[in-house]
């Protein structure tokens, strides 16, 4: 059995070594920060909704730790050929969360009591 050619690594090997050694271009770190910003955006929306509807606001705020945690799931396994599957689950969770939050917001906007002029106080 011969060792693989160092100059021709498999893509999965390359992915694993980049993740372990240097995180080339800080891609992993930037992506992790992007997940954090997304969680903060959810928190901001939860804060706004909390003033109008406590239960809905709390539901949205409860999603924040989940979003934050999704961005920190270990990726070593996902970079070895299964990234679309594992990553796809995260992406679908975010999409479903935003659509759910938008529907809740729509209900509050249409049916909920408003605080006219709150921005002027």
């Amino acid at each position: 059995m011969t060792d693989p050619e160092p100059s021709d690594p498999k893509p999965s090997d390359t992915a694993a070594s980049e993740t372990e050694e240097g995180d080339v271009g800080r891609a992993l770190e930037r992506t992790s920060l992007s997940w954090t910003r997304t969680a903060l955006a959810f928190a901001a929306l939860g804060g706004v909704v909390l003033k109008q509807n406590v239960i809905t606001g709390l539901i949205i705020l409860a999603v924040v730790p989940l979003i934050w945690r999704l961005g920190r799931l270990p990726r070593s396994a996902s970079t070895l050929g299964g990234l679309p599957t594992v990553g796809g689950t995260r992406i679908r969770v975010i999409t479903a969360s935003i659509v759910g939050v938008a529907l809740l917001s729509l209900l509050i906007a249409v049916l909920g009591p408003s605080v006219p002029g709150a921005l002027h106080r």
């Binding site: 893509p11 999965s12 390359t14 992915a15 980049e18 993740t19 080339v24 271009g25 891609a27 992993l28 930037r30 992506t31 992007s34 997940w35 910003r37 997304t38 955006a41 959810f42 901001a44 929306l45 706004v48 909704v49 109008q52 970079t79 050929g81 299964g82 990234l83 679309p84 599957t85 990553g87 796809g88 995260r90 992406i91 679908r92 975010i94 999409t95 935003i98 659509v99 939050v101 938008a102 529907l103 917001s105 729509l106 509050i108 906007a109 249409v110 909920g112 408003s114 605080v115 006219p116 002029g117 709150a118 921005l119 002027h120």
Partner: protein, 132 residues
């Protein structure tokens, strides 16, 4: 691509089969994920803006539904953007795996067209409310 093909591509797992093509450079995969997250934050910002307009702004004189005319489309646009962003992520991921050119994104067009439309509605609502 046929309509059924497009739908299948958007369906969970339909456009990003791990067995399809080859594993792309992880940097490209991460970049695709960050782009999706950026659109998701844009969608959330639209929902926040719409909710704020409906719930916090004072009513427009002579236009009692003015706040809803402005806010509800923004919230709906937020939901639409989130769904379209998912479809774009799937399409881009599939193109990366196949080594194909990245498909053109329709999201800037959707966002620009809707924001322009809401700007026009805003101007009309403000003009009507100013005519006392």
């Amino acid at each position: 691509m046929s309509r059924s093909g497009r739908f299948a591509a958007w369906w969970p797992g339909g456009g990003a089969d791990p067995g399809e093509g080859h594993e792309p450079d992880p940097r490209f995969t991460f970049a695709n994920e960050r782009t999706f997250l950026a659109w998701s934050r844009t969608a959330l910002a639209l929902v926040i803006a719409g909710l704020g307009i409906v719930q916090l702004l004072p009513p427009f004189p002579r236009v009692p539904i003015g706040r809803h005319l402005l806010g509800v489309p923004l919230i709906v646009l937020g939901a639409v953007l989130a769904i379209v962003a998912y479809g774009e992520w799937v399409r881009n991921q599939r193109a990366l795996r196949r080594g194909d050119p990245l498909p053109r994104s329709v999201m800037p067009w959707i966002l620009a067209a809707t924001v322009a439309g809401i700007a026009v509605i805003s101007a009309i609502v403000l003009l009507i409310s100013a005519l006392r």
